[in-house]
Symmetry: C2
Subunit: 338 residues, 2 copies
């Protein structure tokens, strides 16, 4: 009564051919010459028996898992949700399955994942978010192709794909300049994040077109969280009074920025304009709806997958995904008052 799994041999027997034929038919082997009616018999047998190739056996033989790994810090962060979505889509398009794991969690850690995944379970690994040098070493020791996503590391690893954060910052600041703002301050991301550095650089560059020169007091760092944004804003209110606009390094911090401004009795956008990087669904529903720079996060994830699958491990891969960046003008920015 218990039905055994259907294998190649079963199909071969039913079709009256050798299992080699069946295998080649299944894999559409171009070197196969076969009579049309034989192929027909095979296909029929496959469908009648409901045959499905065993992945384990196939992986064993071919030494390919058909799987890619993506490690992110946290599923609850919508930025990574976008990256995952893009990566998954690209992986599926190439016939691969994507395994996504978080490196912060009750039983998970980067280490744990490297142990579980580094056994031929995946053909390649993508790391989004911060990584330690030790983890990178371990990664190298696994002999897997891997690359960093949205992080450009200072170490010796030369495979990564990032976004044009400086350009995003410029778009945001130029928007504010066009609205007539001059004294524009910056709520920057954490020191360790290279995305934050690039956005700060873009801010400085764009501010060259302002009459207001950027001073140290015009920039405060947050840790990419709402609370961090709130604290940085409080700091800026003290250090850099008179600013009419804020460029925030990400949407999460912008939430805290809006909170703090409101509590300080400042109206957005009447008194202060706010623009942030990343256009997440959330932005639209803040009060006021947040003006943002849309970043191609899905494309970032997709490019990472493509590069991982097409480049050879020794290749250096350093790509900046630059398309489809645009300013999304909502309610948190308005012309500067004369």
């Amino acid at each position: 009564m218990t039905t055994r799994r259907v294998t190649l041999v079963d199909v071969a027997r039913l079709a009256g051919v050798d299992k080699a034929i069946v295998s080649r038919v299944v894999n559409a082997d171009p070197s196969l010459v076969i009579r049309p009616d034989t192929r027909e018999r095979v296909l029929e047998a496959i469908s009648n028996l409901g045959y499905r190739p065993n992945v384990a056996a196939r992986s064993l033989r071919t030494a390919k898992a058909g799987t890619l790994g993506l490690v992110i810090p946290d599923f609850a962060n919508p930025v990574y949700a976008e990256i995952i979505t893009g990566a998954e889509s690209a992986a599926l398009a190439r016939g691969h399955v994507l395994v996504t794991g978080s490196s912060t969690g009750a039983h998970s850690s980067m280490d744990r994942y490297l142990d579980l995944l580094g056994q031929g379970r995946v053909d390649g690994l993508m790391l989004a978010g911060p990584t330690t040098a030790r983890e990178q070493q371990k990664l190298e020791s696994l002999g897997l192709p891997w690359m960093m996503v949205n992080r450009r590391d200072t170490g010796e690893h030369h495979r990564f794909v990032i976004l044009d954060d400086a350009q995003a910052a410029k778009l945001a600041v130029e928007h504010l300049l066009e609205l007539g703002h001059r004294h524009i301050v910056h709520v920057a991301g954490p020191f360790g994040a290279d995305t934050a550095r690039r956005r700060a650089t873009g801010y400085r560059q764009a501010m060259k077109n302002s009459t207001h020169p950027v001073r140290a007091e015009d920039i405060a760092r947050g840790d990419y969280t709402p609370r961090g944004g709130a604290e940085a804003t409080a700091e800026l209110l003290r250090k850099s009074p008179g600013a009419t606009a804020v460029f925030v390094a990400n949407v999460a911090m912008a939430v805290g920025v809006l909170d703090t401004l409101r509590r300080a009795g400042l109206r957005v956008p009447e008194d202060v304009s706010v623009v942030a990087v990343h256009d997440l669904p959330l932005a639209e529903h803040l009060v006021p709806a947040l003006t943002t720079v849309r970043m191609p996060l899905q494309e970032l994830g997709a490019r990472a997958v493509d590069l991982l699958l097409t480049s050879s491990p020794e290749d250096e891969v350093a790509e900046v995904v630059g398309t489809a960046m645009e300013l999304v003008y909502r309610e948190s920015t308005a012309p500067a008052r004369p």
Copy 2:
């Protein structure tokens, strides 16, 4: 120069034993009797060579993949982020890897996933979100153990784990009643979602303690999105004027509810109190910060994994995760005005 993968045989050779010994040492086979120094030699060889078992070979032999699949509608939905986090954690604790896929996407669909996963790649499957009857049939045909998460299906499939949605609704409504509200309306979820039905039922039951009897006009349906919440609210403002509080079936819709109330010139919580189901990080940052019922979503995911791994396929599994539900009192609810 190119280093071959290290196998059992290599380790065995270096340690001067048979590969069977190595295998049993690696797997901590309790039936193995071995001299301590031999074990030591084996372990040393393993670490010297950096041996890692090949998952494909192991899966082939044992017919176990060590992997579970979880299919969700959308990574961007924070509700599923919580479920994933819980499921991942439980899976890792049991030595399994979790493969999470979304069923809505450029190249993904439930079907596509069933094809990719239903080949011995996973030992079991969890489905969160809506499922069609055809998909369920296909699932059955794969002969995989599977279960529904956060959905209780009307079909013949009798394996699922859900939350006590009625109880959550009661907590919310009782909170409003305690604040003195009587005319409480309900922005319900879509008809197809059983979670929505249970929450509506809980609402009706709790309202038995109100002096205001629930009429059809006191309930409007939305589709669990902000827009849906906005539309339902507009409908309620027309149909059921005079309400002093709204119970919203989920946080996403609550976003739209707050929007619409604001645009209608109603202040929250001074004029209308709002409480919603699910405590997501987002809730804290809405304006005003949203009072919610915290649901054990992570535990839901974790229980699903545990049940999938411990129950036998023919068992009926119908579990309601009920712990850790509580009301989170924030700024969107206040005492009813006399």
